[in-house]
């Protein structure tokens, strides 16, 4: 009996340790990124890093201004959001308000396949097929460009937006819709004036999560948008047809080069990674709290 109790205790501890490991992973990420980021900032001032307009970590004269990479990342993210947000929301509305249970059970898994395709494959799609197709519409488009990267990243994040928005729409009680119909409103009116506003926090949370995914996306933007760090102007349409470099693509470039573990270029990898981590973490936290608020409304 005592032996059994000891065994129960040991198993309890073992299981607890595996759960605690996830906290260890988070701490590991923060410590790893932090340690090398600090070394990086001993050599390059944070002011130069965050306000510098030139990124050239491996070619002399070295310069470590992250702004061109941030600009590139923002452009891809804005483009992807412009596709995924309206398309994802409309899909969510279709699946939750119009589709029959049967149609939904077919369309939803099909939509989820979009998120399951490896990102290297999306990069290939953009570079090999979408850019040549866009060349027909915009003859001066470069082989590497923001537009086709945005298109594939947008397609990739549609399911995230659609699926979380759909959950939010379905959580809106039937009685609210029926009240709308009783007042003589038609379906579209009920959707836009009652259902969507009631589910707004969940919908916004899905947008933020989708955007955070677009910021961290790597292979598709590395292959399709190129590796040319340039400070672009997102409002200039011509810049959408040119190559850029995102934060993640810059990390891939350094990862593929043979810079040594002690060089500043290597340390800059961690500085970008840390910036990226903080950005996506902030977005995820915001999205989590918005979603939590929406959950409580109908309980």
């Amino acid at each position: 009996m005592r032996a059994q109790r000891a065994r129960e205790r040991a198993i309890h501890v073992l299981l607890f340790i595996s759960a605690l490991l996830t906290v260890g992973v988070t701490l590991g990420i923060i410590l790893t990124l932090f340690a090398d980021t600090v070394t990086f900032f001993r050599n390059v001032s944070p002011i130069e890093f965050f306000t510098g307009t030139k990124w050239s970590p491996t070619i002399k004269p070295y310069s470590y201004g992250v702004l061109p990479l941030v600009a590139g990342t923002i452009m891809v993210t804005v483009g992807a959001g412009a596709i995924a947000i309206p398309v994802g929301l409309l899909s969510a509305i279709y699946l939750s308000e119009y589709a029959s249970e049967r149609t939904r059970s077919i369309l939803k898994p099909m939509l989820e396949i979009l998120a399951g395709i490896p990102t290297v494959v999306y990069g290939f799609f953009a570079f090999a097929y979408i850019t040549p197709f866009l060349k027909g519409l915009f003859p001066d488009i470069s082989a590497y460009n923001v537009l086709s990267a945005s298109v594939v990243v947008g397609i990739m994040i549609i399911p995230i937006v659609a699926s979380i928005s759909e959950d939010a729409l379905r959580a809106v009680p039937r009685s609210l819709r029926e009240a709308g119909y009783a007042l003589g409103a038609r379906k579209v009116r009920v959707i836009w004036s009652i259902v969507v506003p009631s589910a707004l926090s969940g919908i916004v949370a899905s947008f933020i999560l989708g955007i955070s995914r677009a910021i961290g996306e790597t292979m598709a933007v590395t292959i399709a948008a190129g590796r040319t760090p340039r400070l672009v102007n997102p409002l200039n349409p011509a810049d959408w047809l040119k190559p850029i470099e995102t934060m993640t693509a810059a990390m891939v470039e350094i990862g593929l080069s043979d810079v040594s573990g002690h060089s500043i270029a290597y340390k800059s990898l961690f500085a970008i990674g840390f910036t990226l981590f903080l950005m996506t973490m902030a977005l995820n936290t915001v999205s989590y709290y918005i979603k939590m608020r929406f959950r409580e409304v109908y309980r």
Binding site: Q4, E8, H12, L15, F16, S18, A19, L21, T22, V23, V25, T26, G28, I29, L31, T32, L33, A35, D36, P86, V87, L90, S91, Y94, L95, L107, L111, L114, G116, P118, T119, V120, V121, G123, F124, F125, F127, A128, Y129, I155, P159, A162, R186, K187, V188, I215, G216, E217, T218, M219, T248, M251, V252, G255, L256, L269, L276, F277, T280, Y288
Partner: protein
């Protein structure tokens, strides 16, 4: 009144088109890929090492490497992920620490995969001094990456086991662990396995974190052990999209993609089969 009816119908059509938008584009892109891959997909492609000459190039070493790494990921991630899920669902329900761990897991799921690559680099290469780019380091890094996915899937499977089963077992005098091992786990197993296979099929397509830990761009012999360097299949595809010769982009890369997707698809199909068998069993 008529105009309004038309507007109603038009909006429904728009919503339907939006739902089909991504699916249709993906279908087209896959069709192009398959069409370009077809002439290159043969036995020689599957059994040859990569080469500068497109007609002699193949994916054998990277396919073996990827399969080895994924098997290893399974070995590492299943006990850890399922263990964590059992703790959260069966032992620590609704405690504060459980809630904290839970929030942490949802945060981890949102960390970009390339950052996991940096973690792997810092943890396994810089700290533990393992050789960069070996199968073991790749597998460990991917394990950390998919651990949150496995935990969430396993939690859902455990949650779907009715409490009456647990109570019956406890009522017969079984201890908590005996209940978990003999009653809860067997009923949750198919659901857990489904989640694990789906997570593994995602891991096999990951590229960015493996670039960070220094996976090779081309390897000419399959890895002999878990301490050999390897070139994961998606990495090989990435290299082919970057080659100057046209045949690499419009031939070998599509062929590699079709093989990668075929591997992922069969894993997914297996997961769906398990899920269906499980659903039938529950109904009985």
């Amino acid at each position: 009144m008529r105009g309004e009816e038309v507007r109603e119908k038009l909006f429904m059509l728009l919503a339907l088109l939006a739902t089909l938008f991504g699916i249709v584009i993906l279908a087209f892109l896959l069709a192009f890929t398959f069409y370009e891959a077809l002439p290159w997909l043969d036995w020689q492609f599957l059994t040859s090492p990569p080469s500068r000459f497109p007609e002699r190039a193949g994916i054998y070493p990277s396919l073996v490497g990827s399969v080895m790494a994924i098997a290893l990921v399974g070995v590492f991630s299943v006990p850890l992920g399922v263990g964590a899920a059992i703790y959260l669902e069966e032992y620590a329900r609704r405690s504060r620490i459980a809630k904290l761990i839970e929030i942490n897991i949802s945060n981890l799921a949102a960390v970009p995969s390339i950052v996991y690559g940096l973690l792997g680099l810092g943890l396994f290469v810089s700290t533990l001094h393992l050789r960069p780019g070996i199968v073991l380091v790749g597998a460990l890094t991917l394990t950390l990456l998919i651990l949150p996915i496995i935990i969430v899937a396993a939690q859902e499977a455990l949650r779907s086991v009715p409490d009456s089963l647990r109570e019956a077992s406890i009522g017969l005098g079984a201890t908590r662990w005996q209940t978990v091992r003999n009653v809860v786990l067997p009923s949750a197993m198919p659901g857990i396995l489904t989640g694990v296979i789906l997570a593994l099929s995602r891991a096999i397509g990951e590229t960015a974190p493996l670039i960070m830990i220094g996976a090779a761009t081309s390897i000419f012999t399959p890895p002999k052990s878990i301490f050999s360097t390897y070139s994961p299949l998606p990495m090989q595809i990435f290299m082919w999209t970057d080659m100057p010769k046209e045949e690499f982009l419009h031939g070998l890369a599509p062929a590699g993609i079709i093989v990668l997707l075929a591997v992922m698809l069969s894993m997914n199909a297996f997961a769906v089969y398990l899920r269906n068998r499980y659903a039938r069993k529950l109904r009985r």
